[in-house]
């Protein structure tokens, strides 16, 4: 079979079918930002350590800097821009995790925030929120993302806050 240096990929991003022609070496993080104009995904370390670029691929959190854009052809990607939901008055309502971050002052400079929001949103959506969140679960959920401002206390508070909001909404 042949090899390619460029490909056209079709990705459903935040529910919208998108297409882009990219060099095969294009990282998913760069494809989202440069080719699709979605700059909510932040690029920190570019080698998988900081977690700022975390997006959801078919619902699972992954580092978008550790995937090639060609690898998500035909798949669904959710970025931080896709967390809020449309309301019935033509506006948007924040995801409970976003709301909790605002409520708990869980961000300062905001650079790392998109990665936290996607990771925590997926983590809480995958669990039965009527079951009490353990301290270990919270640590595990945020441990793969670096934040140099907050000291994590308010981020962890926001996880529990969002958990309670999602439990009440169940």
């Amino acid at each position: 079979m042949s090899t390619d240096t460029e490909r056209t990929v079709s990705i459903t991003v935040n529910g919208v079918p998108r297409e882009a022609t990219v060099p095969v070496r294009r990282l998913l993080s760069d494809a989202l930002r440069h080719d699709l104009g979605l700059t909510g995904t932040h690029v920190g370390c570019e080698h998988g350590v900081c977690g700022a670029c975390t997006v959801l691929v078919d619902g699972d959190p992954v580092r978008s800097c550790l995937m090639l854009a060609v690898q998500v052809d035909g798949r669904e990607v959710t970025t931080v821009e896709g967390l809020a939901r449309d309301d019935d008055r033509g506006g948007q309502v924040l995801h409970p995790v976003q709301e909790a971050f605002r409520e708990c002052h869980a961000l300062q400079c905001g650079f790392c925030t998109p990665g936290f929001l996607t990771t925590i949103a997926a983590g809480l959506e995958k669990r039965d929120n009527s079951i009490e969140l353990t301290e270990e679960e919270v640590d595990e959920m945020v441990g793969g993302n670096l934040c140099r401002c907050t000291g994590y206390a308010n981020i962890k508070k926001a996880v529990r806050h969002a958990n309670a909001a999602m439990r009440d909404a169940q």
């Binding site: 240096t5 060099p23 070496r25 990282l27 080698h47 998988g48 640590d139």
Partner: protein, 291 residues
């Protein structure tokens, strides 16, 4: 911090993968989970001419647990193995070690077999393959061969396979009867590369006396090694064996290196501490299993 240009193929069968690997020659590299390979490309520590992405190859994403052991396919993500209850029953070290592999987002994508083929001395699963006396299956244009772990790991990031080849699975033999396991790491932050880690297997005799003790370490030495610590505690009752003596013995057997994260002496100290702790826990588990 972007990968150098390369050619890309994503074959739909193993035969096609081997075909393109053969055609592309020396500069071709297999891409599975990419959680180690892509950082190397982005940091320009590696610049393969061609990436052969095996993610579309069918049949490689299964965990087969039988009474004899667990076979893990090349596309099984760490997260899948971590939550596979049947695999954990046959060989508990799999879930125990996988829980220490990086963070959930990395485990969602990274593959267990890929990390073994990557042969990083700070990887968990290389040492678990050694500790369980496992092997890998390697597909080449000439057929499939089984390579025992001792013959597979050659050096840091280096294995004995050359030329067109795909590691299609890793096989971890079952835990022997009357045995317990434990796995523990010391890392600067949870999910970071371990400064030092230890995996152990304790096997008892029918009178609950220590019959065999094996240990393997993470981030210690250039390739995985299994150390037999039985002599330090042989025949002692499992509940009150002198695990500290086994820890001391382990410290004399390892040969850690100094790097930016820790000195060789500190690593040697950790080998002793982690050995003592994990052996006590593994022995308690072995006793529990006999009740």
């Amino acid at each position: 911090m972007k990968p150098a240009p390369f050619r890309y193929a994503d074959p739909g069968t193993l035969d096609e993968a081997l075909e393109v690997l053969s055609a592309e020659g020396e500069g071709a590299k297999v891409l599975a989970g990419g959680q180690s390979l892509l950082p190397l490309l982005s940091m320009r520590l590696a610049a393969p001419a061609t990436l052969v992405d095996i993610n579309r190859v069918p049949g490689l994403d299964t965990v087969e647990a039988t009474g004899d052991g667990v076979r893990v396919g090349a596309l099984v993500r760490h997260a899948h193995l971590l939550h596979d209850a049947a695999a954990a029953r046959i060989q508990p070290l799999l879930a125990r070690a996988t829980a220490n592999v990086a963070h959930p987002a990395i485990r969602n994508r990274g593959t267990t077999v890929g990390s073994i083929a990557h042969a990083d001395p700070s990887g968990e699963m290389t040492s678990v393959l050694a500790l369980t006396d496992g092997s890998v299956s390697v597909a080449t244009p000439g057929g499939v061969e089984t390579i025992a772990w001792r013959d597979f790991f050659v050096g840091p990031l280096e294995t004995s396979i050359h030329g067109p080849a795909v590691v299609t699975s890793a096989y971890f033999p079952a835990l022997p009867a009357r045995s317990g396991t434990a796995f523990s790491e010391v890392a600067r932050r949870k999910g970071d590369y371990a400064v030092c880690g230890a995996g152990v297997v304790v096997t008892l005799d029918e009178d609950r006396r220590v019959a065999a003790v094996r240990a393997a370490y993470i981030s210690v030495g250039l390739t995985p090694e299994v150390h037999d610590l039985t002599d330090a505690v042989a025949g002692q009752p499992a509940e009150k064996a002198d695990w500290a003596a086994a820890g001391s013995l382990a410290r004399t057997l390892v040969d850690p290196d100094t790097d930016i994260h820790a000195s060789a002496d500190y690593r040697r100290l950790l080998v002793g501490v982690l050995t003592e702790r994990t052996l006590a826990s593994a022995a308690a588990e072995a006793v529990g299993g006999m009740e």
